[in-house]
Amino acid sequence: MIAPGTLRPRALYLHVPFCERLCPYCDFAVHLGGAGLHPRYVDAMALELDTLAETGADPAGAPLTTVFIGGGTPSLLAPELLERLLERVRAGFGIAPGAEVTIEANPSGITSEAAVRWLAAGVTRVSLGVQSLDDDVLRQLGRSHDAATAVAAVERLRQAGVRHLSCDLIYAVPGRPAATFARSLERLLTLNPEHVSCYELTVETGTRLHRQVVRGLVRPPAAAAALRQHWWAVDRLEAAGLAQYEVSNFARPREQSRHNRVYWRGGTYWGVGAGAHGHLAVPLARRLGMPVAPGAAAVRCWNQRSTPRYLAQVEREGQGRAGWEGVQAEQRRLERWLLGLRRREGVRLSTVHARAEAPQLAAAQLVTLDRERVRVTRRGAEVLDQIALRLAG
């Protein structure tokens, strides 16, 4: 799955952990407040980028084709910090002409001027955390914006010239009927996004939401109810010309996220910033000081999750790694099914085991078999992880 002849990832994830408030459902690496830390943080990322580039780079050969600046709330960074960051990326790794460069943004505080400067700095795509267009739901989700702010944010981005816009939407919010979600989605469609990520609200351990659920204060909707909202959203988005290309992602033609497709294809990528994960070829990982046992097919590595710890380590050592693991062939096979089945394209049958299993799953209408490709059916998509387990053997 790593393109032959290249060891170097052509995708880069940059994590900006800062948030103005904590959303009760979020389990990403976040750092509350800390505006004063922004310059120092960008410097640390620059340092980490330099280290990776020096050891693992081949600037002439393979510039990046996708960059994703996620968070946290990267839109909180002042435009000049973002410029500085992308400058360092370009200097160390190169950014290919026509590359996809995405920034995640929160509706609150977006100005046209800032957006203009992002685009000038090389950003090509904005992923906007709309989440809902219902004020009550937004309050419940702990968001800092209301529906009107979100709508205004889209308008400002459009004015600034953003041509590739993705919006996040959340369904299966506890206590909210399907109709509430449906209204949000309808309103979102009037904003004409090129791309929509439509997620079920997931209760992640360690979050405030999880604690509330454990204490019985919040009751998540039953699986069947959540699935009804999901399939309704799929139908509605498809009808509006946004085709489902992954479990939770929908796009107009040629608007799929190239960066995220790298994840689902099992491709390699750099991860820079607090809590960021990387996926690297074994020889490259070794060069970067991550020895792995023989037999590993790839290496997954991750940075310090806490921002202060990340900063301290990078400033000391030039890198912020907290750990890594060699992915054995068998584990890689499981990943391939786990990730690949999420995509509309499905996965090509390769192992004897999968060849034997697939027809049974097809007979139960959990997958379809089209020549050598396995794709999940709607029913199959509901239990995708178990199907992956079954096919991986």
């Binding site: 994840y263 990730l339 239990v383």
Partner: protein, 603 residues
């Protein structure tokens, strides 16, 4: 060491409830008489298997010789014989008690008499043993020795004046216990000039010396070089050595009538030295064997299968090693569509099965699936053939069966009077036929029942204990086969019959049993990708059905760069769990489901 004069030998065992201090008392006796130096004491010397110490039960009998100088100035040979304690081993217990003339009855000074004690006391009394009651743990704050002494008099009819007070922990009263054994336990009677008669009350396998036979001599003498013959088994050997346990094996010149010890005779198979058999001289044998020999045969069969198929050779090896020490265990290879290659094993009862399974898992680190236990049925087919079926899956099709006969036992149940009603009710439920009821001395009643063996191998003993608040005891002996209206209850999972889940049951109970079985299986089989129908069927007719609904949802909403490792690890863990399940067609069935048939009654 020459033989001790017979009038100075005392053979006794200790009867006690599980934690009333039997082992501590035994340890103290060994220590006080210098049999074991205090510094060599490991707690509870007698239970040598880890499993025995943990469960507080004795599986193999033990015998220790104590040499004691009594207050009359004479030196006595005291043989302490420790007995196993469960109905599965009731026969072994009776042989160990038959090797004694007396028993110390230990009762906790705060707990009083408990059920297990009572059942064994009844046995000892029936064998004519002299009882030495001892109230133990008198040093504890909660001790009420007077109350317990009175209770012993009331329940067992043992005069209060005869009961001794002791604390095995502090050592108080231990000398009096030793004195009482000398005074009250009668000396054995036996003609040392007569032909040899030695009762085998246990045996164990030693990798270097072969089978070590535990014997009590009833008549004659035995020494190295003696040519011996097993009167029931028929095999003959030359004795290599005779000895005693102190408690380690110690060579002696000879053993004579009245004495207890061991003999080694290059015997390679424990089945050549069966408990209850009589050892005699090859030339000039005794006129008759000792009474009470019983051929110990398996009563219950179950399939043992390795969870992972490639462990089959390990299982075979392990069973072979266990059998060296366990004459009652039998095994032969069998196959199951659901479970693959395994063994059909024969056991004395469920505890025996449990112990074998636990030892296989623990001592040989095997991961096993045990199928529901079954008894052996005699089946006559229309073409006149008679076959023995100990695996329900192998019962011929109902259309071919002329008649099925089930094994019946005669059960002897002892209990306090006020439990008679409850116990009778239980026996009736299990298709029992009452043979005899008798109210005996003191508080006790005796019930004799004719019962189907198949009805008492599951949870009968547990039920009996719970309905008599623990006080009833059970002993049974196989009697005869009798025709019964039995049917095979099959289980179909997702439409395919799972052979390992079949059972044989009475026609009238099939409906209820089938319903409960599918209900139970529904709770044990986890949700799968597909809906899984579970059906119970008798002769192709579905009599009960449940459905395990399909897994509703298992998909991660967001799966990006940072989520992959975590999700994969979660699935890897699930995959490990699935390895412990057996796949039948499309369905993954966990280990516990195969025991569901057995646990049905208990649920």
């Amino acid at each position: 060491m020459p033989a001790t004069p017979i009038e100075r030998v005392r053979n006794f065992s200790i009867i006690a409830h599980i934690d009333h201090g039997k082992s501590t008392l035994a340890d103290r006796l060994l220590e006080r008489t210098g049999t074991v130096a205090a510094r060599d004491m490991t707690e509870q010397l007698l239970d040598t298997m880890d499993l025995e110490r943990e469960r507080g039960i004795t599986i193999k009998a033990q015998a220790v010789r104590i040499v004691h100088r009594a207050s009359d100035g004479l030196t006595y040979q005291l043989n302490l014989i420790d007995t196993p304690g469960h109905v599965d081993f009731a026969y072994e217990v009776s042989r160990a008690l038959a090797a004694c003339e007396g028993a110390i009855l230990v009762v906790d000074a705060s707990q009083g008499i408990e059920a297990q004690t009572l059942a064994n006391v009844y046995k000892a009394v029936d064998l004519g043993l002299a009882l030495v009651p001892v109230v133990n743990k008198i040093d504890l704050p909660a001790a009420e020795p007077e109350r317990v002494v009175a209770e012993i008099e009331r329940v067992l009819g043992l005069p209060a004046g005869q009961t001794l007070l002791a604390s095995a922990r502090t050592g108080a009263g231990i000398d009096q216990v030793l004195e009482a054994v000398v005074e009250r336990v009668p000396a054995p009677i036996g003609d040392r000039a007569a032909p040899l008669q030695a009762l085998i009350f246990d045996s164990k396998y030693d990798a270097y010396r072969g089978v070590i036979i535990y014997v009590r001599l009833m008549a004659g003498r035995i020494a190295a070089g003696t040519q011996i013959k097993m009167m029931a088994g028929g095999a003959s050997f030359t004795v290599d050595e005779v000895g005693i346990f102190r408690p380690q094996m110690t060579l002696v010149d000879e053993l004579a009538a009245g004495e207890v010890g061991y003999l080694v005779a290059s015997i390679r198979d424990v089945r050549d030295a069966k408990v209850g058999d009589t050892v005699t001289n090859l030339e000039d044998p005794a006129a008759a064997p000792l009474p009470g020999y019983r051929q110990v045969t398996p009563m219950v069969w179950a399939g043992l299968y390795p969870v992972e198929g490639d462990a089959y050779p390990d299982l075979r090896e392990a069973l072979g090693r266990l059998q060296l020490n366990d004459a009652a265990l039998t095994y032969e290879p069998e196959t199951s569509v659901a479970l693959g290659f395994g063994f059909r094993c024969g056991f004395l009862g469920l505890l025996h099965l449990d112990i074998v399974q636990e030892r296989l898992e623990r001592e040989f680190t095997l991961d096993l699936i045990t199928t529901a236990p079954s008894v052996a049925y005699r089946v006559t087919t229309h073409d006149g053939a008679e076959i023995l079926v100990d695996n329900p899956a192998q019962l011929p099709d109902a259309s071919q069966i002329d008649q099925i006969c089930e094994p019946r036992v005669e059960a002897e149940l002892l209990m306090p009077r006020d439990a008679v009603g409850q116990v009778m009710e239980l026996c009736q439920e299990r298709r029992g036929e009452m043979l005899h009821l008798e109210y005996q001395v003191g508080d006790r009643a005796l019930l004799r029942y004719d019962l189907p063996l198949g009805e008492i191998i599951s949870d009968f003993y547990d039920q009996l204990k719970s309905r008599s608040r623990g006080y009833a005891s059970l002993d049974y002996e196989l009697r005869a086969y009798r025709p019964a209206e039995l049917v095979k209850l099959d289980v179909l999972v997702a439409g395919s019959r799972v052979d390992a889940l079949s059972s044989i049951t009475h026609k009238n109970r099939a409906q209820l049993q089938g319903r409960r079985l599918v209900e139970r299986l529904k709770t044990l089989i986890p949700r799968q990708l597909f809906e899984v129908p579970i059906q119970a069927a008798v002769g192709g007719r579905i009599i009960a059905r449940e459905t395990v609904p399909a897994l509703r949802k298992d998909v991660l909403a967001k799966c990006y760069g940072g989520d992959i490792t975590r999700k994969r690890k979660l699935l890897e863990k699930q995959r490990e769990g699935k390895k412990r399940m057996k796949r039948v067609g499309n369905v993954e069935i966990p280990q516990e489901a195969f025991m569901a048939v057995l646990r049905l009654e208990q649920s």
